[in-house]
């Protein structure tokens, strides 16, 4: 690996940065220091990490250690000056190492191969010798056919005295796979830097019915979006009767210059992007101060199938169409549960099981009253075949959106593709060369095969054996 030792100081520095030794030292340093950030919670409240340190080192040492660790940047270590410096060193290492080696590798890629002498061929790691019946002219087709069949399309031919030599190479460019891999790391880092300098990350809690033209960064600053986004509705779907959410969905509209330009409903794993800004479904919650100001969306179906769709508020009354029965909305619970004694209570501060309490009366006379639950259609049924469908309580939930703009993400993805391709080439492809020398001896032809691969010679050797058996078979068939 090592070159002839250079003595000039600049050469020494160059060699230092070009060495694989430095690379593995950096690998070790990055791996070991990264552990710190998995033990100490990053960018957390001090109290949290003092607790962690107390668990690990005891009460007396924790506060002192915390101060030291904070000075060392451990509380946000992946952004600390020394970790960044490590990454810079790593990139410099890759660049210099590649610059050092690429010219030589490029030569190996581009270099045409030439004919070999018999002595040279006998020194090859993979070599075969066989005798074919007949003169060169007769077996020529057999040989070239076999060479082509093993994937060497562009073979060259060299006429020598009393012999003929074929040679070919393929996969020259596979030698560059490693460099593609190395280069892809730089692309990914560049993409990350691009994203950090030109993009932003933030969040937006948007109540149903509300709109906003800003998002908020995690330290509370407003980030202008350049357009408006409105949440038309939010809903959670659960697995069966359980409280395990199956899907959160927000119906969003983008409004620009007073016009609705885009509408989409988003779920986790299926975000909305407009003008480079992407909105991800991330959380949801109740707006407590709006709690009594929401709108009940009901669908009333009378016994003789007259339907009315209603939007009501707490305290409103409605009529079942075609009857003199009226209902009055008395109470609401976002998550109703009935305990063993039959008492209803609210068990969660989320819309897990929305329920509305309605008093029904007929011409002023109290008829019945009870809870109607959104998730339990059997509670919608009233005596007399009437039905009150509780479809939604709208305007009391907010959808929690992550908002991101990252113009570097495509660069990162490009780097990822390059890395995958590079690794695939580096490990599963190789630069292979083959020489077949046909020497005429009396009425026979002696074949001398030499082959070389820059890696995994076992697999290549098997391939050469197959080539030999193809030649043998064709020769027998040809007679």
């Amino acid at each position: 690996m090592e070159e002839v030792k250079n003595n000039k100081i600049t050469d020494k520095i160059w060699d230092f940065f070009a060495s694989v030794k430095l690379a593995i030292i950096i690998f070790a340093l990055i791996a070991i220091t990264s552990i710190i950030g998995t033990i100490i919670e990053q960018r957390a409240e001090p109290a949290k990490n003092i607790e962690v340190l107390t668990k690990l080192f005891g009460e007396s040492l924790a506060p002192g250690l915390y101060t030291i660790f904070e000075k060392l940047g451990f509380m946000d270590m992946y952004r600390s000056w020394w970790f960044i410096a490590l990454l810079v060193l790593f990139s410099v290492n890759i660049v210099i190492c590649s610059l050092e080696r690429l010219p030589r590798i490029w030569k190996l890629v581009k270099e045409p191969i030439g004919p070999m002498s018999e002595e040279q061929l006998k020194k090859f790691p993979i070599k075969r010798e066989l005798i074919l019946k007949g003169k060169i002219d007769k077996v020529r087709e057999t040989i070239t056919g076999a060479i082509k069949a093993s994937g060497f399309k562009n073979y060259k031919e060299n006429k020598e005295e009393k012999s003929l030599q074929f040679f070919a190479q393929k996969g020259n460019y596979s030698r560059l796979g490693v460099y593609l891999t190395h280069f892809s790391i730089l692309i990914i880092l560049a993409g990350a830097i691009l994203g950090m300098s030109l993009g932003f990350k933030g969040y937006l809690n948007l109540p149903e019915g509300a709109r906003s033209n800003v998002a908020f960064s995690y330290n509370g600053k407003e980030i202008p979006l350049g357009f408006n986004i409105r949440c038309d509705n939010f809903d959670v779907e659960f697995y069966g009767r359980s409280d395990m959410p199956k899907e959160y969905r927000s119906w969003l509209t983008i409004i620009e210059n007073g016009r609705e330009v885009l509408q989409k409903s988003i779920v986790v794993n299926d975000p909305l992007t407009y003008k480079g800004v992407t909105f991800y479904q991330s959380s949801y919650g109740l707006i407590t101060e709006n709690f009594n100001r929401g709108i009940f969306i009901l669908r009333i179906v009378s016994g003789d199938s007259q339907i009315s769709n209603l939007n009501l508020r707490a305290g409103d009354t409605f009529q079942i169409p075609g009857t003199s029965i009226s209902g009055k909305i008395i109470d609401f619970s976002p998550a109703l549960k009935i305990d063993r004694h039959g008492h209803a209570f609210t068990y969660a501060n989320q819309m897990n099981n929305p329920a509305v309490y309605i008093d029904f009366s007929e011409s002023g006379k109290q008829l019945l009253s009870g809870w109607i639950l959104k998730r339990h259609p059997e509670t919608w049924q009233l005596p007399g075949g009437h039905r009150v469908e509780f479809l939604d309580y709208w305007g009391v939930e907010f959808t929690g959106l992550q908002v991101r703009k990252d113009p570097g993400v495509w660069v990162v993805y490009l780097g990822c593709i390059a890395m995958s391709a590079g690794l695939f080439i580096a490990f599963f492809m190789s630069h292979r060369k083959i020489w077949v020398k046909a020497i005429e001896e009396k009425n026979n032809t002696r074949l001398l095969i030499g082959a070389f691969s820059n890696k995994s010679s076992v697999a290549y050797e098997r391939k050469i054996d197959r080539l030999v058996s193809v030649i043998n078979k064709r020769q027998e068939g040809g007679k």
């Binding site: 990264s34 990350a192 990162v412 690794l423």
Partner: protein, 360 residues
């Protein structure tokens, strides 16, 4: 016949295969070897059936389409898939290298892992997916990660065998390294086995590790038991250290050369590394990007995957430095797999216990 029938069948097949492989090593009869391979293949086929059936059961249960229902949502299911990859990898090596001796190492791992899953009662428990997990990227991510892990597991066992075969002196650092590694694995397995026997727990693994693991031994409330456990552990270490050479003679019987072990270690990592890079790191990042809009957030799980990746990069590059081939790189391959295990188990189980945000 449902999935649990075929799980049981494959468990038995693997354990039976282990016995036949050991017999094969003892008698070196070709017919016995063929029988061992056949039984392993039967185990593999029935495990494939079991996974497919469970997949279908899961799909019927959550009703979200076939792709989304891959049975890879919890620790146990992924362990089953890991065993499947491991056996597949082993069978490939057996056919490529025409050597059956590793079977005696791999089939007990497979059999024990499946038996462990069976006692802990996992195969009946079906959990629906929370929204963040409903992603095709996630499926590809998990599947490829585990194929990578299985390749790394193979390199771990051949790396360890390499060390066992090539170390002579008891006070040499490589010898001490492998006896320690081996000892820790053995002790953790034994003490977890005791925990299972003592508590008969049928709970989720996360809960098991938090509330039961080592409670019979190292974390026992009684300090006497605690002391006895530590002394036993030290004795086990000592015995392995003192009589480690016996293992060496056993492995030498397999007619495997250290060069072959070194080559298999490299080949496994050469297959595992690109698959893990694409599956574990890149697809994981794409999934996170789709779900939360951050492709890399330095959370402990991601960071540990990256640490694992750097250790294997270390392995690949250190092979190019003079004087590193052989024992040193074998040690790196062993450390690499320890990082894999920590990424998979330790992060959820140990680190999340340290942080109050806990069970996520």
């Amino acid at each position: 016949m449902d999935s649990s029938f075929f799980f049981g069948l494959s468990t038995m097949a693997y354990i039976l295969a282990m016995i036949i492989y050991i017999t094969y090593i003892a008698f070196k009869k070709n017919q016995i070897g063929i029988l061992a391979t056949t039984v392993t293949i039967i185990g593999f086929v029935s495990q494939t059936l079991a996974i497919t059936l469970r997949w279908k059961e899961f799909a019927d249960f959550i009703g979200m389409g076939f792709i989304r229902s891959a049975p890879l949502t919890n620790l146990y299911e992924s362990l089953v898939f890991f065993v499947w990859c491991l056996i597949l990898g082993y069978l490939i090596i057996e056919f490529k290298f025409k050597n059956r001796s590793f079977g005696a190492f791999i089939t007990p791992i497979a059999g024990l892992a499946l038996a462990f899953i069976d006692i802990s009662g996992m195969s009946k428990e079906i959990q629906p997916l929370v929204p963040a997990l409903q992603s095709n990227w996630l499926l590809a991510h998990v599947v490829m990660s585990f194929i990578g892990y299985a390749a790394f597991a193979l390199s771990f066992s051949t790396g360890l065998m390499y060390l066992i075969m090539t170390t002579e002196k008891r006070n040499g650092s490589s010898y001490i390294f492998w006896t320690l590694t081996f000892g820790i694995f053995l002790i953790v397995l034994i003490s977890m086995g005791i925990d299972f026997l003592k508590f008969h727990v049928v709970v989720k693994p996360e809960i098991f590790i938090k509330s039961y693991m080592f409670k019979t031994s190292f974390l026992n409330p009684s300090s006497v038991v605690k002391a006895i456990s530590w002394i036993t552990a030290i004795i086990i270490f000592f015995i392995i250290w003192r009589y480690g050479h016996i293992l060496k003679t056993v492995i030498e019987k397999f007619n495997i050369t250290p060069e072959m072990l070194d080559e298999i270690t490299y080949k496994s990592i050469a297959v595992g590394f690109p698959i893990f890079t694409l599956g574990g790191l890149i697809l994981g990042a794409i999934w996170a990007d789709q779900a939360w809009g951050v492709y890399w957030s330095w959370d402990p799980k991601e960071t540990w995957s990256l640490i694992t990746w750097f250790i294997y990069a270390f392995y690949l590059h250190s092979r190019m430095i003079r004087g590193w081939r052989g024992k040193k790189v074998a040690i790196v391959s062993v450390i690499g797999f320890m990082a894999v295990i920590f990424t998979y188990l330790g992060v959820n189980l140990l680190l999340s216990g340290l942080h109050s945000y806990g069970s996520a």
